[in-house]
């Protein structure tokens, strides 16, 4: 259940009660719910494959996994509609999948192949697909905040009913860009939803060291916008809060800052020796905060899916991942001749009109 920490007018959702209420499926149909489970599982399995392939040196680069945080991207993007957009982070695979990007071309991108979303020029940290409203993963912490604000500004100028969602980490909330972007968006009441994925760490640094306050969402108070905390492993909680924030944004009531309390199960990047936390801490999170297990149980409790239904979905996703890996591995490397293409639009690498 969402907790309001910035009690601004039109604040999102009911305040956190002492005992959790019965499962709230909001406006989601059975097939919506199953679709969300499928997306979360797709993210989980995609990331597991990426890890395997990386360890076997079948893909390379700077790779940050989203395992443990799947409910945030999935729940948030489910609340979006046609023409809405997101900005993402260095930990962007989950956001991509939640926006409907396909695992095959994503895998190909991670392998630097020509069939990848960026034709092998971007890699893990830069996957983008304008067709899907995915404005780009990003190697610069906090950089997406002004960018999504700008997309919302564009919708505002064009008087479109669309919204922008900005995903960023707890660490990013300490960047100047965070303050500048949110303050600007709040001033114009732009249709943007800022979703902080507070996974407890910014690289090797605990959020406890980096943040002098307990919640990132509290910072909403200083921008005069609602600040909401959700449990990031509870997809229905995430969906409910984002749905309401999207409604507000479309209605012209401006941005919301949502903080999803989550946990990254894997290292900061592939190869991280993780000296900054204990195995026990990770094991405890895996046992109690696994969004996939939690949602699987919820679906059964609601009678939406049986254990057998879920098993079938698992088999389907496994096959999909086999296909994605095969697609990536069988795809060609880019030709050397493309090195100097794509620098400018309508001009060669020197900027001369062609």
């Amino acid at each position: 259940m969402a907790t309001i920490v910035s009690p601004i007018e039109h604040a999102v959702g009911p305040a956190h009660g002492s005992s959790p209420t019965a499962l709230d499926r909001h406006d989601l149909s059975d097939s919506d719910l199953i679709d969300m489970y499928r997306t979360m599982l797709r993210i989980r399995r995609f990331e597991e494959r990426v890890k395997e392939l990386f360890l076997e040196a079948r893909l390379y680069g700077s790779v940050h996994l989203y395992i443990g945080e799947e409910a945030v991207a999935t729940g948030a993007c489910k609340a979006l509609g046609e023409g809405d957009v997101i900005s993402s982070t260095h930990r962007g695979h989950g956001h991509c999948i939640a926006m409907g990007l396909e695992s095959g071309p994503m895998m190909a991108e991670l392998m630097g192949k020509v069939t990848g979303y960026n034709h092998g020029k971007g890699g893990s940290m830069h996957i983008a697909s304008m067709d899907h409203g995915m404005l780009g993963a990003n190697g610069i912490v906090g950089a997406g905040i002004p960018i999504s604000t700008g997309a919302a500004l564009g919708f505002w100028i064009q008087e479109k009913a669309n919204v922008a969602v900005c995903f960023f980490g707890d660490g990013a909330s300490n960047q100047g860009a965070f303050h500048e972007g949110i303050n600007f968006a709040a001033g114009l009441k732009l249709p943007v939803i800022f979703i902080c994925e507070n996974n407890g760490y910014a690289q090797f640094q605990s959020v406890k060291q980096d943040l002098p306050i307990e919640h990132v969402a509290t910072r909403a108070i200083s921008y005069g916008i609602p600040g909401v905390i959700v449990q990031g492993e509870d997809i229905l909680d995430v969906y409910g809060a984002v749905k309401e924030a999207v409604r507000r944004a479309r209605a012209g009531d401006g941005p919301t800052l949502i903080e999803a309390k989550t946990y990254r199960f894997e290292g900061h990047f592939l190869g991280d020796p993780e000296p900054y936390r204990t195995r026990e801490e990770v094991a405890a999170a895996r046992a109690t905060r696994d969004p996939l297990k939690i949602f699987g149980a919820q679906l059964q409790e609601m009678g939406v899916a049986s254990a057998d239904d879920l098993k079938r979905i698992h088999a389907q996703i496994d096959e999909e991942m086999d296909r994605a890996v095969a697609f990536g591995e069988s795809s060609p490397e880019p030709a050397g001749s493309v090195l100097l293409t794509d620098i400018f639009t309508g001009a060669d690498e020197h900027g001369r009109i062609v």
């Binding site: 700077s62 192949k113 020029k121 830069h126 190697g139 690289q203 900054y276 880019p334 090195l339 620098i343």
Partner: protein, 323 residues
């Protein structure tokens, strides 16, 4: 004397300077656990007031060192990738670089901005930039680019003891792969003294940082066909040891410049201008540059390699001059 890696040499310099001068302190993101091992162990040795981990706030780091230097400290800031310095440019360029002059000479700002450049690790465009020319363009900043572990230690010590803002650029590929003999004793290397990595009479190759390895490789290949290249490593761009470079070109009459940064308005352009101005009558061929062909660094590692100067390209450039 022991053979150590580039990152160990840097660690030695920091350790020794911190022990030598209690005004020296380190500040940056994740420097306690140290992503690349440069600051490893220093927090344990010197404690939390000498090794300060910060939130992800580059502008705050870059400005904080200016403020701390203003009240008598000698800070060493770390920006893991040079790319992240872009978030701190106001503090570096508008503040640290200019304060001395604007204040009529009153500010003394002994600041080291350590950062990391270079290509070759499939980190893609945002994490792979060599922007030394940007900083060299700005009056008030000294620019250091060590190539060997020995130089890294000596030059970092000189940087820390210098009373000006210094941009100290390391190369990420070299941290673990570059290793050479480094004394455990105290020594410094003066700024503005180029190193002649190889002597030769037929052509001068001026190479920046890791490109010296490429240049030496090319020189060996050229030597096999009777062309003797002189390889010069400027080591510091500001100040620049123009005498050594011009002296060499006057001897060889030909020059090739190699750097990882983009060719357009790269530091090579400055070198060519200086060489033409000071050795015009000695040149038998136009100076040429081998550099990144003005492209953001691609992720795909084959494409990435194509964007980095190679020994083969340097050989070809030299042969082009010998005709």
């Amino acid at each position: 004397m022991a053979v150590v890696t580039m990152s160990q040499a840097l660690n030695m310099a920091l350790t020794e300077e911190m022990a030598r001068d209690e005004r020296v302190f380190l500040i940056g993101e994740d420097i306690k656990d140290s992503t690349y091992g440069i600051t490893k162990g220093l927090w344990d040795t010197f404690g939390p007031k000498r090794v300060i981990g910060t939130p992800i706030s580059e502008a705050a780091i870059a400005g904080a060192v200016l403020g701390a230097a203003s009240v008598g400290l000698r800070p060493v800031a770390e920006f893991m990738y040079m790319t992240f310095m872009m978030c701190a440019m106001d503090q570096v360029v508008n503040q640290a670089a200019k304060s001395k002059y604007m204040f009529g000479g009153k500010a003394v700002l002994p600041i080291v901005y350590r950062t990391m450049a270079g290509a070759g690790r499939a980190n893609a465009a945002q994490h792979t930039q060599s922007l030394e020319a940007w900083f060299a363009h700005v009056p008030g900043l000294k620019i250091v680019m060590p190539t060997t572990a020995y130089d890294a230690k000596g030059l970092l010590k000189t940087s820390i003891r210098d009373d000006n803002p210094v941009i100290f650029i390391e190369n990420k590929v070299q941290y673990a792969t570059t290793r050479d003999e480094v004394p455990t004793t105290d020594y410094t290397i003066p700024f503005g003294q180029a190193a002649i990595r190889r002597t030769g009479k037929d052509v001068t190759i001026v190479a920046l940082q890791r490109m010296n390895e490429i240049a030496l490789e090319a020189a060996e290949e050229l030597s096999a066909s009777g062309i003797e290249a002189e390889v010069i490593d400027p080591r510091t761009l500001v100040p620049l040891d123009l005498e050594s470079i011009v002296g060499s070109v006057r001897k060889t009459h030909r020059v090739v410049i190699v750097h990882e940064a983009h060719e357009r308005v790269g530091f090579g352009a400055e070198l060519v201008a200086q060489i033409v101005q000071h050795a015009f009558d000695y040149l038998d061929a136009p100076p040429v540059r081998v550099a990144n062909p003005n492209v953001p660094t691609p992720f795909n590692r084959t494409l990435e390699q194509l964007s980095i100067p190679s020994a083969a390209q340097v050989v070809q450039a030299v042969r082009g001059l010998m005709r």
